[in-house]
């Protein structure tokens, strides 16, 4: 969880955080070592102190202990305590060899004649003194040696609260110092890292800012010198220019394809206009020649009228096609009828038959922009008529699924070449060649968020375009 969160963080924040975390770890380890050393030092100091205490008492008390002179033992202990020589010693108990207490600095706590065993349970040996963090008092048991033999025992309780307090203060200052140092260094690291990583941030911003295209980094924002980051940014700029150039090339190619399809459309229109023109001229000639024959004139006039109406319809469809390029009209069945009219001359010139099936709901169709869909369908139809042989067959099917509109164009041509198929389906730039308008279709469908399928089956090629066309639930219409 934290790992993912860290990975999502910007590098400029993650790196200083990592440095700060390392500082904390180093601080903790260093603090632990300091405390360990302090504890060892305190234990050594205590050992030395107790050793001196015991040695001094052994010299002073030896004869008295041998004689079991209670008063002398007490007097020596009491004077040593009163003289301030053993302020840390909160209790000193002297026992004979049998473990009977002779005297103690506090006789009420350790009465004369009682057993020293009650105090021995928690006592530590002199050479193995350990100070734990929670102890304010430790007890040490040492033999009382006089003239080379053990004549009794000395049990000493030491007040180590000051040592415990010293350790607590050390911990406090270590934590405080480490926290302050870590904070300062982390802050400094943050700004230093941020400064160092600024070109990387710039790079990330430029990469993400352009819509579909990387944006060039201006020279003013380039780091000085021939640093790794500088080389990286220059390489990025080179790549960004290459991407731009490629996009421009594709745009030009698409433009050219549009011009090509426009030329073919114009040719088709000219043919459409030219076809009736012969009949119209014949009719006008007939009218001139048989002006006195009203029936012929009427018949010829009807011919002229039909021909002119056809020309009007053709010009209206062409006008609509161009006008839609700049309007936001929605796709509708009459757009398909216009396309059918526009494609007819091409079909007739090649004696091809057209199968036309439109089963989609107009409301569903209206979810899509008319200009884009007309461009897509026209290019698919033009491509199919170009691919289909003389006398061949072309079919259009417009249907719908739950949330998509599907447009399929089928022909019985030789099928798409690899180049044409790549042009239709691959986003990569392709060499100019077969499959006029297919690049335009791919770009437009991609723009609508749709997909293109292409299959070849039993001598027929089907290009199926599916574009999202969900009708909003509230309005049932777009």
């Amino acid at each position: 969880m934290i790992g993912r969160w860290l990975l999502r963080m910007p590098l400029a924040a993650r790196a200083p955080l990592l440095a700060a975390a390392l500082m904390v770890v180093v601080g903790l380890v260093a603090s632990q070592q300091v405390l360990l050393s302090l504890t060892r030092f305190q234990e050594a100091r205590l050992r030395e102190l107790v050793q001196v205490h015991v040695d001094g008492l052994s010299v002073a008390l030896g004869p008295s202990v041998l004689r079991e002179d209670v008063w002398e033992v007490f007097d020596t202990l009491d004077r040593a305590r009163a003289a301030g020589q053993a302020q840390r010693m909160v209790l000193t108990v002297v026992a004979d060899r049998e473990g009977h207490i002779l005297a103690a600095t506090d006789p009420r706590t350790a009465p004369t004649g009682s057993r020293v065993g009650a105090f021995v349970a928690t006592a530590q040996a002199l050479d193995a003194i350990e100070v734990s963090a929670s102890d304010d008092r430790i007890t040490v048991l040492a033999p009382l040696t006089y003239q080379g033999r053990d004549v009794g025992e000395i049990l000493t309780a030491l007040d180590v609260s000051d040592l415990a307090s010293e350790r607590r203060w050390t911990v406090f200052w270590l934590v405080l110092g480490n926290a302050a140092a870590t904070g300062v260094l982390a802050l400094a690291g943050y700004f230093a890292m941020r400064r160092m990583l600024r070109p990387i941030s710039t790079l990330a911003e430029r990469m993400g800012s352009g819509v579909g295209q990387p944006e060039l980094i201006p020279e003013t924002e380039m780091p000085r010198g021939n640093t790794e980051v500088g080389r990286l940014l220059r390489t990025y700029n080179t790549l960004a220019r290459a991407v731009r150039d490629e996009a421009e090339a594709r745009r030009r190619l698409a433009e050219r394809e549009r011009f090509v399809s426009l030329g073919r459309l114009a040719s088709s229109l000219a043919h459409e206009i030219n076809n009736p023109l012969g009949g119209l001229l014949n009719a006008v000639d007939t009218i001139g020649r048989y002006a006195e024959r009203p029936d012929v004139v009427r018949q010829s006039a009807n011919l002229v009228e039909r021909g002119l109406k056809h020309l009007r319809d053709v010009s209206a469809a062409a006008l609509e096609h161009n006008r839609l390029g700049v309007s936001d009209a929605r796709f509708a069945p009459h757009d398909l009828e216009d396309l059918r009219l526009l494609i007819c001359p091409e079909l007739e010139s090649k004696r091809q038959t057209l199968s036309w099936t439109v089963s989609a709901d107009p409301d569903r169709m209206a979810c899509l922009p008319a200009a884009v869909m007309r461009q897509v369908v026209l290019n698919l139809l033009l491509n199919a008529t170009a691919a289909a042989p003389h006398g061949g067959r072309v079919a259009l099917t417009v249907a719908e699924t739950a949330d998509r509109l599907e447009v399929s164009v089928e022909d019985d041509g030789p099928g798409l070449t690899d180049i044409a198929r790549a042009r239709l389906q691959s986003p990569d730039a392709q060499r100019p060649g077969a499959g006029i308008g297919l690049g335009v279709v791919r770009d437009l469908v991609a723009g609508l968020g749709g997909s293109i399928a292409c299959e070849r089956c039993e001598g027929r090629t089907t290009i199926a375009v599916a574009v999202p066309a969900a009708v909003p639930v509230e309005t049932e219409a777009c």
Binding site: V70, W71, F74, D75, D78, A103, D106, P107, R108, P111, T112, G113
Partner: protein
Amino acid sequence: MVMEKLAGKPRPVSRRRLILTGAAAIAAVAAPSDAANPFRFGLTPVFLDNDALVIDTLRAALAEGLSRPIELVQRRTYEEVTGLLLQGGVDAAWLCGYPFLQHNRALTLMGVPVWRGRPAYRSYLIVARRDVAQGLGDLAGGTHAFSDPDSNSGWLVTVSDIVRTGRRPERFFSRSIFTYGHRNVVRAVASGLTRSGSVDGYVWEVLALREPGLAERTRVVARSEWLGFPPIVARSDRAGDADLARLREVLHRMPETVAGRRALAALHLDAISPGSPDLYGGIAGRMRDLKGLR
């Protein structure tokens, strides 16, 4: 004289005295100066012998009065000081009435301090301040601190009191110790080393004034009758020596000199009277009670 009656003998005479006196005289004549031959004065813990100021003022008063240096000799026990006195190791000593009576034939009174208007003091039986004991009987089976086996107030009084109750002193307490100092008895009881202690009443009272922090940790549960104050004594056979005669005069005239008054004030005493062996009848009576025990 009471002591002579007790002893049943005349005071010891004195060929030895004469010899010693002669030797002293010869020594005095032979001495190049008094500075090389200081007057040796023995001290026992019958007073606060741990107090340097007291010691110094006493030395100063004696030195001024005797016009010669004073060597104050302190030993741990009464017995040692008494021995020194008897052997001539010191010229005079401040002893307890009990050893004075023990050696009454060999010792003579030089003076008896006057405390609170009389040449007498009492023995105190003390316990820790919060102890519930009300008297000697409540202390049976406990631990006890005596001052010295030759001390009247610090041993004889309590032991004779026990004997008077018909019990054996050596079995009365579970454990008894000697601290060789009245102040030490107070320390032993105050610290809890022993439950009770036998102490010189004069020392305890002075201690209450000078070291209230120590004395207040103890409580007096029994006081003896008034008994003869620890006397300053010298060997009987030297009683006629000039330096001892001079010492006697100096002691008796202490209230008349600045140094003497200062010393008396430091000792919380009124004066030093010539005294009389009769003062020690009470102690002698207790000694009799112990006959056969020691």
